[in-house]
C-alpha cells in the first residue's frame, strides 16, 4: 500500500533523528530504502484565504449546519475560523459587530454536484469540457484540468450562499474521471480555487447515459448489463494493478526491489487504486433503485465503497438499504420525468431518505440550481411535511452543509458552525427557506467575499467585464 510506504519512511527518519541525542553513537542507521510511489497530490491547492477580520454577528437565528438552532444567537469569526458560537460570545476590541436581529445565519452551502468551470457560461461548444466521451472508462482525466476559472457561474453560486462546490466530470462514461472540490473564490488558475486537503473523487455513472453514448457508436456498453460487465472488468484490472504496487512496495521495504522494479504508472488505474485504497471517494451518478442495488453489489465484489449516489431519484425505494450501507444520496427537490430513468422521481424523495435515517443531500447539477439550493431544500421539506414527515428547518440545513461535507470528506474542516472549523458562513435577509430570503453576506474562511449591498464585494469574472449588463445586480 502506498500509504504504508510513507509511514515506514517517516518512522525510519524519526529513529535517525532521535539517535543523534544518544551519548554513545550507535552504528549509523541504514538509509531508508528508496521506494517509488504514485504521488498522492501532485497538483496541490494554491488557495490562500483572503484577509479575515474578526467579526461578531449577533441577534440572529442560527442554523449551524449540524442540526442545531440557536435563537437570538451570536457567533464570532476569528482568524478564518469559527471562534465561538452560542447565546453570547466575547466581543474583542476592534471586532466588526453586525447586528442581525431578525435575520438568519447558517453554515455555508456546499454543492456536491456541479459542472461549473467544466461546462461554463457561455455554453458554447468551445467550452464543452465536461465529458471525455472517447471511451467508457476515462478515470485518468481530472475535472480540474477542464475548469475555466473565469466561469461567471462561480460569482452567481457565491451570491447564492455557496462556500464550497464539487466539480465533477459528466456522466457520458462509466468512469468519468476525477472530481475536485473548489471554493467559489476567483483565481487565476484552478489551483488557486482548490479546497486544501479535500480528497479527490471518482465520478462513475450507471444507467442510460453510458449505454446510449457508446451503444449509438455500436460499442460496448450498449445495455445495462454491458455497463456492469465493463465496469467489473475495470475493477478487476484495478485490483491487479494494486496488487502489483503492493507487492513491489513490500519487496522495496524489504530491500529486495530496486526503483526500476516499480510498476509503470497507469494514470487511469492510479485513480482506481486510489478508490481501492480508500483515498478517493466514489461519486456515482445513478437514478434507479435497482441500479443502485447493482452498484452496491459491485462495490462489495471489488471491495470499494460508494460514498454518494447522485441524482438518486429512486433512493426513496431503497432508503433502508442506503442507510445500512452508509451511502449518501445527493438529490434534486422535484426534477422528474425528463428521461426514462427519472420517470419515478417524486417530491418526497429527500424527506423519505432522511426519514429512513439515511444521509440526504440536496445537489444542483445545474448552474442555476446551485444559486438556490436553499429553495430546493425548502420545497423538499414542505413535500415531506405533507406526507407527515416533520423535519425541523435546522435539521434540514444538514442536507445543505454537513451532509455534503461528509460526502466530500471535508466535514472535519467545514460544513457546520463548530468552533475550530472554517468560518464559512452566510447571513440571510430572512428565514432561508423563504422564497423572499437572499444571502446578504457570505464569508469564506472568515473573509467577506460577498456583500449584497457593496458592489466592491461582488466579483465580476473576466468574461463579463466590459460586456453589456456588467454592474447590473444579477
Amino acid at each position: 500500500m502506498v500509504m504504508r510506504a510513507y509511514v515506514v519512511m517517516a518512522v525510519a527518519l524519526a529513529t535517525a533523528a532521535a539517535a543523534k541525542d544518544k551519548p554513545a553513537p550507535p552504528p549509523p542507521p541504514a538509509p531508508p530504502p528508496e521506494i517509488i510511489a504514485a504521488p498522492k497530490d501532485p497538483w496541490p491547492s494554491q488557495y490562500k484565504p483572503y484577509p479575515a477580520r474578526t467579526t461578531v454577528i449577533r441577534g440572529a437565528t442560527i442554523y449551524d449546519g449540524a442540526g442545531n438552532r440557536i435563537d437570538g444567537g451570536m457567533i464570532r469569526l476569528d482568524g478564518g475560523k469559527v471562534a465561538e458560537i452560542g447565546a453570547a460570545v466575547a466581543i474583542p476590541d476592534g471586532a466588526t459587530v453586525i447586528d442581525a436581529t431578525g435575520k438568519y445565519v447558517t453554515a455555508g452551502i456546499i454543492d456536491i454536484h456541479s459542472h461549473l468551470g467544466v461546462y461554463p457560461s457561455p455554453g458554447v461548444e468551445a467550452h464543452s469540457d465536461g465529458n471525455e466521451g472517447t471511451s467508457p472508462a476515462r478515470p485518468e482525466v481530472w475535472a480540474e484540468h477542464s475548469v475555466w476559472p473565469q466561469d461567471p457561474g462561480f460569482s452567481r453560486a457565491l451570491a447564492g450562499g455557496i462556500t464550497a462546490l464539487h466539480v465533477l466530470p459528466g456522466s457520458a462514461n462509466l468512469f468519468g474521471g476525477r472530481g475536485t472540490t473548489l471554493k467559489p473564490v476567483y483565481g487565476r488558475s484552478v489551483q488557486e480555487m482548490k479546497f486544501p486537503g479535500a480528497p479527490y473523487s471518482l465520478k462513475m455513472a450507471c444507467g442510460e447515459n453510458p449505454k446510449r453514448v457508446y451503444g449509438n457508436r455500436n460499442q460496448m456498453p450498449s445495455t445495462r448489463m454491458g455497463n456492469i460487465a465493463y465496469a467489473r472488468q475495470l475493477w478487476s484490472d484495478a485490483t491487479a494493478y494494486k496488487r502489483r504496487w503492493d507487492d513491489y512496495t513490500r519487496r522495496a521495504q524489504a530491500g529486495t526491489a530496486k526503483p526500476t522494479d516499480a510498476p509503470r504508472r497507469e494514470l487511469a488505474l492510479d485513480t482506481m487504486m486510489g478508490v481501492l485504497n480508500g483515498e478517493i471517494l466514489v461519486q456515482n451518478h445513478c437514478y434507479r433503485a435497482d441500479e443502485m442495488a447493482n452498484v452496491i453489489s459491485m462495490a462489495r465484489e471489488f471491495n470499494y465503497k460508494v460514498t454518494t449516489f447522485h441524482h438518486a431519484v429512486e433512493s426513496y425505494k431503497i432508503a433502508d438499504m442506503l442507510k445500512a450501507e452508509g451511502i449518501c444520496s445527493a438529490m434534486w427537490a422535484d426534477w422528474y420525468g425528463f428521461k426514462m430513468e427519472s420517470f419515478d422521481g417524486i417530491k418526497e424523495n429527500i424527506a423519505l431518505v432522511h426519514n429512513a435515517g439515511a444521509c440526504a443531500i440536496v445537489h444542483s447539477d445545474d448552474e442555476n440550481g446551485i444559486q438556490r439550493l436553499n429553495q430546493e431544500a425548502s420545497k423538499a421539506l414542505a413535500a415531506g411535511r405533507r406526507l407527515g414527515i416533520n423535519v425541523p428547518p435546522e435539521t434540514a440545513w444538514t442536507w445543505l452543509s454537513l451532509n455534503p461535507a461528509k460526502g466530500l470528506g471535508i466535514s472535519d474542516k467545514t460544513g457546520s458552525l463548530e468552533v475550530g472549523k472554517a468560518a464559512d458562513v452566510v447571513l440571510w435577509s430572512a428565514e432561508p427557506f423563504s422564497v423572499y430570503a437572499r444571502p446578504m453576506n457570505v464569508w469564506i474562511d472568515g473573509a467577506l467575499m460577498y456583500d449584497w449591498g457593496d458592489p466592491k464585494r461582488r466579483p465580476t469574472s473576466d468574461f463579463e467585464l466590459g460586456q453589456p449588463g456588467v454592474g447590473e445586480v444579477k
Partner: protein, 431 residues
C-alpha cells in the same frame, strides 16, 4: 339576475357543478396588490358569480370554509409542453418538435395533446389550471400552432386550439434558417409573403408558386391568422438587438400580435418594447450569460420591464434546469425577492401573481380567464399559505368550477414507498 342567467348559458359546455361559496378567505384577485379580506367567492355553472367581502351565501350553495386561506385565480403557464411530451428523452413520447417534417407553421399541437398525461395531475397539484402548450421549432424557424389547455381531470382539455404560432429568431432562428440571422429574416419575410399571397387567393396559390418558393401550401395557410392577428406570434428571441429588430414587425404587419419569449436582454430596450405595446413571456431566474445572445441576462429583467409598462408573464421556459409549471408560483415569488435586493428590480406580490394569471390571459386574449372577477371561468385555487412561497401548496383546485382530485402518480408512488417494511406481499400489491 339577468346577468347570472346569461353567464350560465355561456358556461353550459364546460361545467355542471353545484353553486359553491368559498367563505372567509383572503383573495388575491390577480388584479393589483389590494387583497380582499374575509371574502366570499361564489361560482355557479363554471363561472364566478360574485366576489366581495362578507357576501351572503345563496341558499343551497356548497360552502367551503376557507378562513386563514388565500385564494387566487388558477395559475396559467404562459408557455409549457404539458400534455405534449410524456418523457422528453423518450422520443416517441415527445411531440414537441418534428425535425424531419416537411411542414412547420402548419403543425397543430392540439392534435397531440394527451389529456391523460401524468404531468397534468402533477402540475394541477401545484395550482396550474391552464397552460399554453407550445412546440419547439425544428424544421424551419416556425414551430407550429400552440394550444391553450385546461388541466381539468374531467375535461374538456382543449380550451383553444391553434391559439398561437411559435417561432425562433436569434441564434436558434439563424441555425434553423441555414446559418445566420439574415437567413432567418429572409425566411420569415418569404413565409409571410407567401402567406399573404395565399390569403389573397388560395386557389391561385399553387399555380402562381414558382418552383423556387420555400413555402408549403399548408404552412402559408397557417400563417394567415398570424398576419391578421387572430393568433399571437410567440417569437423566441434573447439579444437586445434582435428584440429591436422584431419590434419592427409591428410596422410592417400592423395587425400582427408579436410576443417576445425568453427576452433575457429585454431590459436594455424596455422602453422600446413598451412603446411598441409588445408583451413578454420570460423567466424570473435568468441571470447567466448562457450564450452570446444573453450576455446581459439579469434577474432584474422582469422588474425593469414591469416598470417600463410592459405586460410580463412567466413561462415554464427552458434554460433553467428542472423547470416545471408547478414551480411558477415560486418563480413569481423570486421576482418579488429580487426587488428586496439593494439595486434589485422586482415585482410587487400583486404584479408577480398577475404574471402567472392575469397577464398570460391578457396576452393570449383569454378574456374569461386570469382573474377572480364576476363572469370569469371559475378556475380557483385555495392555498395553505402565501401562494408565492416555496412551502405553500393548494388545498383545493377548481377548474371551470369543478373541484379537482388532489392526487397524482407521484403521490401514489410516495404512499407506496412511505413504509419500506416487508409484509405478506411485495410493495407492488395494493395495501
Amino acid at each position: 339576475m339577468k346577468r347570472l342567467l346569461l353567464t350560465a348559458a355561456l358556461a353550459a359546455t364546460p361545467a355542471l357543478a353545484a353553486p359553491t361559496a368559498i367563505t372567509g378567505a383572503t383573495l388575491m384577485t390577480g388584479q393589483g396588490d389590494a387583497v380582499i379580506a374575509n371574502a366570499t367567492l361564489i361560482f355557479d355553472n363554471g363561472r364566478i358569480t360574485a366576489v366581495g367581502a362578507g357576501l351572503p351565501v345563496p341558499a343551497g350553495a356548497t360552502v367551503v370554509e376557507a378562513r386563514g386561506r388565500i385564494v387566487t385565480p388558477g395559475i396559467i403557464a404562459a408557455a409549457s409542453d404539458v400534455g405534449l411530451s410524456e418523457v422528453n428523452g423518450v422520443r416517441e413520447s415527445n411531440d414537441s418538435a418534428a425535425r424531419q417534417s416537411a411542414f412547420s407553421a402548419a403543425l397543430d399541437m392540439s392534435t397531440a395533446i394527451n389529456p391523460r398525461s401524468m404531468h397534468i395531475p402533477v402540475n394541477r397539484l401545484g395550482g396550474i389550471t391552464r397552460a399554453v402548450v407550445v412546440p419547439d421549432s425544428a424544421s424551419t424557424i416556425f414551430g407550429g400552432q400552440g394550444a391553450v389547455i385546461s388541466l381539468s381531470a374531467t375535461g374538456p382539455t382543449l380550451t383553444r386550439a391553434r391559439a398561437v404560432q411559435y417561432m425562433e429568431m436569434g441564434e436558434n432562428g439563424a441555425r434553423l434558417a441555414g446559418g445566420s440571422r439574415p437567413a432567418a429574416w429572409a425566411q420569415l419575410a418569404n413565409m409571410l409573403a407567401e402567406a399573404q399571397r395565399y390569403a389573397a387567393n388560395p386557389a391561385l396559390f399553387d399555380r402562381g408558386q414558382d418552383s423556387g418558393s420555400l413555402a408549403k401550401r399548408l404552412d402559408a395557410e397557417a400563417l394567415g391568422p398570424v398576419l391578421d392577428g387572430r393568433q399571437a406570434l410567440l417569437i423566441h428571441v434573447e439579444r437586445a438587438s434582435d428584440i429591436s429588430e422584431v419590434l419592427k414587425l409591428k410596422g410592417r404587419y400592423p395587425a400582427m400580435r408579436p410576443v417576445l419569449v425568453g427576452a433575457r436582454e429585454a431590459w436594455l430596450v424596455a422602453g422600446e418594447i413598451a412603446k411598441a405595446g409588445v408583451p413578454v413571456i420570460t423567466h424570473s431566474l435568468y441571470d447567466l450569460p448562457d450564450d452570446f445572445e444573453s450576455l446581459a441576462a439579469s434577474r432584474n429583467n422582469i422588474g425593469h420591464l414591469q416598470a417600463a409598462g410592459v405586460t410580463v408573464a412567466l413561462g415554464a421556459l427552458g434554460g433553467i434546469g428542472g423547470t416545471a409549471p408547478f414551480n411558477l408560483p415560486a418563480y413569481a415569488g423570486n421576482a418579488v425577492a429580487q426587488g428586496l435586493v439593494p439595486g434589485g428590480k422586482g415585482l410587487t406580490k400583486g404584479q408577480a401573481l398577475a404574471a402567472i394569471t392575469a397577464n398570460p390571459a391578457r396576452i393570449m386574449e383569454l378574456a374569461d380567464l386570469g382573474t377572480l372577477a364576476v363572469g370569469k371561468r371559475a378556475d380557483v385555487v385555495i392555498w395553505d399559505g402565501d401562494p408565492l412561497e416555496l412551502q405553500s401548496a393548494p388545498v383545493a383546485v377548481y377548474i371551470d368550477g369543478v373541484t379537482q382530485p388532489m392526487t397524482s402518480r407521484q403521490t401514489e408512488l410516495a404512499n407506496r414507498y412511505k413504509a419500506l417494511g416487508r409484509t405478506d406481499l411485495p410493495l407492488q400489491y395494493p395495501r
